[in-house]
Symmetry: C2
Subunit: 216 residues, 2 copies
């Protein structure tokens, strides 16, 4: 895989977990924090909300970047009609984990991609179902003491200690961490951001960069 | 969570991925490589084979350790009646990935636990279904160039670049990496290896260590 100068990837996210996910694919990218006020944003469904927020983050960075492929994402934890945000403190985190215990919830990540200067835009929402086993009060206490709960939607991070809470998932695992990698890879390939070079770099397996329609 | 001196956990595995999984739970443990010849082992089903190999690894270490909780595991990749081992070279890895492309396979991990000196034994097999999207030849080439394929059953590691190949999983993600963490946690708790201490270390939520039957 080669990335040329025109394929600069910009991750519009301050999340260290998203950066870490991109890094393990061997992708070159830069990080731009997007300043978007998420508080007033509401949409008809969790999926629409995740995509709307991802788009706003991508647009905010696209307004400042003349070239490159901008990626933004927003992850939502959804249980029985309620969206679980980042817990404000110990008590809220505790009640979120009690709510998740023994139940299946959904994690939705909206991903927005903008390619500059063409203005090509693409969007995707990935949903993963996550089933927690029944947790004891003591286990919730053990988890909260680790401090892992407080900066994460739903009050847990699947990649840390909460791994032992998750009986099974149905869907993309990396979506639960914060970026649906297989779907993102396909989006990047379609946007011309991934160039596959086979063998000794002779067989470039990619569509021309500037002949793609601006689709959604 | 507290681990007392009698709860020494011994990981009977040379796999750096398994050690890394245990580490992120905050568990204290030591590693003992178990010398088991896997070549002649066959069983009626993939599940039985994974458990049999895990047990042999655990027994080999238990013969040398007088106290502690020994954990061993064996991971098998299974597709349409065939078990895919670690590829011997580039060509074999290439054909394994071609076989996995666009299909759903099973990853089975057998876990064996032995608690010494009591001789308490427990076993478990966890199965996760993994669905690959269709891969291009160039993508397989890109993956093989990374070198990640060669020391892994089935010719891929889900936690690295192959993340972008996996459309979805159904089951425990960590099982695919090499240890089913939720199931292992339950086994360790039942064996008395995890002591939950709630609040300021006052409420010990665990069964007495030496009153458990030697079950399978």
């Amino acid at each position: 895989m080669k990335q040329t100068a025109t394929d600069k990837i910009i991750l519009a996210s301050a999340s260290p977990r998203r950066a870490e996910l991109l890094r393990r694919l061997g992708l070159q990218f830069t990080v731009r924090r997007s300043e978007v006020d998420e508080s007033g944003v509401t949409a008809a469904t969790p999926a629409e909300q995740a995509l709307l927020l991802a788009r706003r983050k991508a647009e905010a960075v696209a307004a400042q970047e003349e070239t490159g492929i901008i990626i933004a994402a927003d992850t939502i934890v959804h249980l029985q009609g309620t969206i679980l945000g980042k817990p404000a403190g110990y008590r809220e985190a505790q009640s979120m984990l009690s709510l998740l215990s023994g139940r299946t919830h959904e994690v939705l990540t909206g991903v927005a991609l903008i390619r500059q200067p063409e203005g090509y835009r693409a969007g995707h929402v990935e949903t993963t179902r996550v089933t927690f086993r029944r947790l004891t009060e003591a286990e919730i206490g053990w988890y909260l003491e680790s401090g892992e709960a407080f900066d994460k939607a739903g009050g847990y991070g699947i990649q840390g200690r909460a791994a032992v809470f998750v009986k099974k998932i149905d869907g993309c695992y990396f979506n639960v961490v914060g970026l649906p990698l297989a779907a993102l890879w396909t989006m990047l390939t379609q946007a011309g951001g991934i160039k596959m070079v086979k063998g000794a770099g002779m067989n470039v397996n990619t569509a021309p960069d500037h002949q793609r329609p601006a689709t959604e």
